[in-house]
């Protein structure tokens, strides 16, 4: 029997975990980059207040993962990504309908735990001795981090490549890392648990945020309402308060 137990285990460890839930007509599923967690959670209650009986479901993950999910036909009516690359990728794969709209920009920042154990003062202070974490290069935050490390001639290698930006933030907040590269908005969301250090050149190359309706959107009017909310004055105000640069 044991040999069969082994197969089961290995098979189960190979299986990814994707949330599969059917979208009901009065339910809107929004797939959003994890850096949008705070803003979209706030907009979720605004939207539900103006759409009685509608439940908004947020799926927050790395843009690259969400893009894959959309292409695979996972349930989701709206896709919001943290860069143009992942949105373009989805569009070319036929994952969205209509056009994608840019709705905000975000810049990268270096963060250290509040007590700054490795005494890091600038991006150049990252060395082989410091445990710093970034996102995987396929995620928008990882692509941006890799570009900034290159342009600033930092050759030290990160200790880990996390699969999304919230994981990077968490490593720094819990003190499991000396530093991390995240979006300004993530740094703001952590309050005084982290200290921010500006990265030279970051503001010249901000990440752009894009939103579009997916091809599998079941409730097209609700999806459009959500997009309008994000692009409209209310959405833009919430984004600005969270530290995003708006249109």
């Amino acid at each position: 029997m044991r040999r069969f137990a082994a197969v089961l285990l290995l098979a189960s460890s190979l299986a990814g975990c994707t949330n599969v839930t059917a979208t009901k007509p009065n339910e809107l599923t929004v797939l959003a980059a994890s850096s949008l967690t705070g803003v979209f959670t706030e907009l979720q209650s605004q939207f539900e207040a103006t759409h009685p009986g509608v439940k908004v479901k947020l799926v927050l993950d790395s843009s690259a993962t969400l893009s894959q999910m959309v292409e695979q036909g996972a349930p989701g009516d709206v896709l919001a990504t943290a860069d143009q690359r992942t949105m373009d990728h989805t569009r070319i794969a036929g994952g969205i309908v209509g056009q994608a709209d840019q709705f905000a920009t975000n810049t990268m920042v270096l963060i250290v735990p509040a007590n700054n154990p490795a005494n890091i003062k600038s991006l150049g202070g990252l060395s082989a001795k410091t445990d710093f974490v970034v996102c995987v290069p396929t995620a928008p935050c990882g692509a941006a981090a890799a570009a900034l490390l290159t342009t600033n001639h930092v050759s030290a290698q990160p200790a880990s490549e996390e699969t999304d930006v919230k994981a990077v933030l968490n490593k720094v907040v819990t003190g499991e890392a000396d530093a991390g590269l995240v979006f300004t908005t993530d740094a703001l969301s952590a309050g005084d648990k982290v200290r921010q250090i500006a990265i030279p050149g970051a503001s010249q190359a901000p990440n752009t945020y894009w939103i579009a309706q997916t091809k599998q959107a079941e409730v097209s009017s609700l999806a459009q309402d959500w997009i309008d909310l994000v692009l409209g004055p209310n959405g833009q105000a919430v984004l600005a308060r969270a530290g995003f640069a708006t249109q």
Binding site: R2, S13, L14, T65, Q68, D131, E162, G175, E176
Partner: protein, 259 residues
């Protein structure tokens, strides 16, 4: 003996549930790029890391697990069943919880990790040592389960006879217990190795995800799913092939005597 007909439908559904996903994986394999994806540097580095960390954690399981199993099988003491229950919890705890638990003990701010770091400048997370530790944590219970069962199945008479012939406790363990329980020890070691190879949740949570040092094959699959799903499928198949190989070895000559 005949099997009642009414069992055949659920039986084939069960078999289908287990077999169909594997067939799906094989069908999705990108034939034209299979070879180049399989020999890509990222795949090979993850393969090598997986093989050596799984082997190292199997060594940890064998060196520490055999004595522990012998104690559980032979020693009589209070709260033994409670202890066994605690030791076997990693079997049922979700691996990501195992990762969080490992962080709270050996993380940079863990109750053991912090003094280690302050006192000796040793930091475990983000190193291959962390991978071995995570693997050992989840694999050891499998090893113990197999070996303790092996030790318990030995007829007590044999050790009694050895005892009357003047063998002390150490000799009885080394000359009677160990050789006779060999098939169970090997089965336990192979199972621990296979469990290590497939370990994902505890590793990514505790050790991190960096190519070459902590990105094992399952983490490579997860990372590649974001970038290149074809590569993820090829790496998944590679894991599958290794597992089938392990099972074949289990059935074959090593454990011929167990059947």
């Amino acid at each position: 003996m005949t099997v009642p007909r009414r069992l055949l439908i659920p039986a084939s559904l069960g078999a289908g549930l287990l077999v169909l996903p594997i067939i799906g994986l094989v069908l999705r394999a990108p034939l034209s790029t299979f070879g180049s994806l399989l020999t890509a540097p990222a795949t090979l580095s993850a393969l090598w890391l997986s093989v050596w960390t799984s082997t190292a954690s199997t060594a940890v399981c064998v060196l520490l697990g055999i004595p522990l199993s012998w104690v559980l099988a032979r020693a009589q003491f209070r709260f033994k069943s409670l202890l066994r229950g605690i030791l076997l919890t990693p079997l049922v705890v979700p691996p990501v919880v195992a990762g969080v638990a490992l962080l709270s003990a050996f993380g940079r701010n863990g109750f053991l990790g912090a003094p280690l770091r302050d006192g000796f400048g040793l930091s475990i997370p983000y190193t291959s040592i962390a991978v071995v530790l995570a693997h050992s944590f989840v694999a050891m219970p499998f090893f113990i389960l197999s070996t303790e069962e092996g030790f318990r199945a030995l007829p007590p008479r044999l050790e009694d006879v050895a005892s009357t012939l003047g063998a002390d406790a150490w000799t009885r363990f080394r000359r009677v217990g160990l050789p006779l329980a060999r098939p169970a020890l090997i089965a336990g070691a192979v199972l621990a190795w296979a469990r290590s190879l497939g370990e994902f949740g505890a590793t990514i949570t505790f050790a991190g995800n960096y190519p070459g040092t902590t990105r094992t094959l399952p983490l490579e699959v997860y990372t590649q799913l974001q970038a290149d799903p074809d590569a993820a499928i090829v790496v998944s198949l590679l894991l599958l092939i290794i597992c089938v190989g392990v099972l074949a070895a289990l059935r074959g000559r090593w454990l011929g005597g167990l059947r």
